[in-house]
Symmetry: C2
């Protein structure tokens, strides 16, 4: 498989963008890679680390943007910045564009309002985040064997879809198409709300006086591996996550309401007045294990990894 | 350090009990170890695997129990069975006793009602569970460097406390003392409710039509590592966990109510009518990370393991 592009702009050369540049090199893409970074410091760092063939700060680039000179433009900036940059595109722009945004509705709405008529913008969400940010954390293998969700705004051509899909496949990804609103709903369930719950759990545990008193007295933590696993994502890079929450507030809210209604049912079953029906709890847990296997697309009922 | 016991009864030679037996051997204890198992099949397995020096089924043992011939008795059976066996002890029994139960209040109440006056029963909770059950999963290193919570029923002597503490330390554990009710409250926060939440999350995600539809269409799962981590304990051995929920129902209920009240506040903050205050969300997440470090007794703010 070969990449068909000769000049690629990665607008936003953070961890994801720098990884993209390194991955293209590793796959022997012959494309010239131009990177845009946020600050002069990052530019120096990028030059030193050879993160791209050519580097500009956003300020330098936007002074006289040569959008037309690239045969592929990838936005590697956060969702809100992506929306701002889309609004700076020349009207009627026909270049091939994509992004790596964590939520889709705001981006797709911006695309549909700026690029009216037929265009070549396909939104992407490579599912391979990391808690690290900054181009120094670029990793040539980040995209390998991971999933990339593709979202087609109104007016995007099928040819553009095939080209963007081919680009991610060239980097070793599998792809699947999900419309913007469905994407944002799904991500609220499988990622955004779990982050909130994980954070909530650490507050709830630590603010319990009893846990706190005996944790302080104990030579070792009072928790087991389960709690450790469940709170691993608590307090994940707040600068990265709070804008994600902001850009998907409505879906997160709805998903949390659904979660809370289920929690209410669980609490009602646990009312101390009536003793637990142990058989019913066993079924609840059996179902949970099967549901998890289905979510993780596991073929069998074997032990969790 | 040496173990001072010459004849130890492990009543309940499942994963934990068999590990105890193996750990004692590994530490060169000279004690004779007698194990009690639930079924003839387990007895055969235990003989084949040399899980103890001598093995009885519970039926055989209880036909003419020689409680007095042991200088240490460890119950390795579930909490409800532990309570039943305590009720079979000779009245005024003065032997040294402990258990490895996951909840404490029911056990301590049974001890206090059966062993009136001065006695030598100290309840233990070695914090080193595993999802495996059965003596074939015995692991000589299970207790090494882990925490053992000790609980003193009314009437237990300080000497007995020192002996049981010494026993666990001989096996490489650290110890801390926590009263029964505090223990059960703490465990509801750091273990029991997290298990319920993890199970609840898989149901909630998989019963969302959108997640289900696009998971089925996608070549790879739509989840990231966060969700995988948070649901690792979902559906943990239901036969083991549903009795734990049953024996700590009241504390679990109270902990869930506390959790739910915090969730309600979070949901109120997310109401779509008003846009998120991103700074406030950053502070929420920063606090979560600090709380987690405190719970896990980490010295610094470094990245999560």
């Amino acid at each position: 498989m070969k990449s068909e592009f000769s000049r690629i702009l990665i607008y936003g050369l953070g961890m994801m963008g720098a990884s993209l540049s390194l991955a293209l090199r590793k796959k022997n893409s012959s494309a010239e890679i131009v990177g845009v970074v946020g600050s002069p410091t990052s530019k120096e760092k990028g030059i030193r680390l050879k993160s791209a063939d050519q580097l500009f700060t956003a300020e330098e680039f936007l002074r006289s943007p040569d959008w037309e000179s690239y045969d592929l433009i990838v936005f590697g900036v956060p969702v809100n910045t992506t929306v701002e940059v889309i609004q700076k595109l020349p009207s009627g722009f026909k270049g091939l564009l994509t992004d790596m945004g964590s939520t889709k509705l705001e981006i797709v709405q911006a695309v549909e309002s700026v690029l009216t008529g037929e265009h070549r913008y396909i939104s992407s969400h490579p599912m391979c985040g990391s808690e690290e940010s900054g181009l120094e954390f670029g990793n040539a293998d980040l995209y390998e064997n991971r999933l990339c969700i593709l979202t087609k705004p109104k007016g995007a051509t099928n040819e553009a879809y095939a080209q963007i899909e081919g680009f991610w496949k060239f980097l070793g990804m599998s792809t699947t198409e999900i419309p913007a609103q469905d994407h944002d709903r799904i991500l609220s369930y499988v990622s955004h709300v779990p982050h909130l719950i994980s954070s909530l759990m650490t507050n709830w545990v630590w603010e319990n006086g009893c846990v706190r008193e005996f944790t302080e007295k104990s030579p070792l933590p009072l928790t087991g591996g389960g709690f450790r696993d469940m709170t691993r994502i608590a307090g994940s890079n707040p600068k990265m996550w709070s804008p994600i929450f902001g850009s998907n507030q409505e879906e997160i809210y709805k998903a949390l309401i659904d979660y809370k209604e289920r929690l209410d049912l669980l609490i009602a079953e646990l009312k101390p007045e009536k003793p637990l029906d142990l058989g019913q709890w066993e079924s609840f847990m059996e179902k949970s294990r099967k549901d998890r296997d289905a979510i993780l697309k596991k073929q069998n009922d074997s032990k969790n990894p």
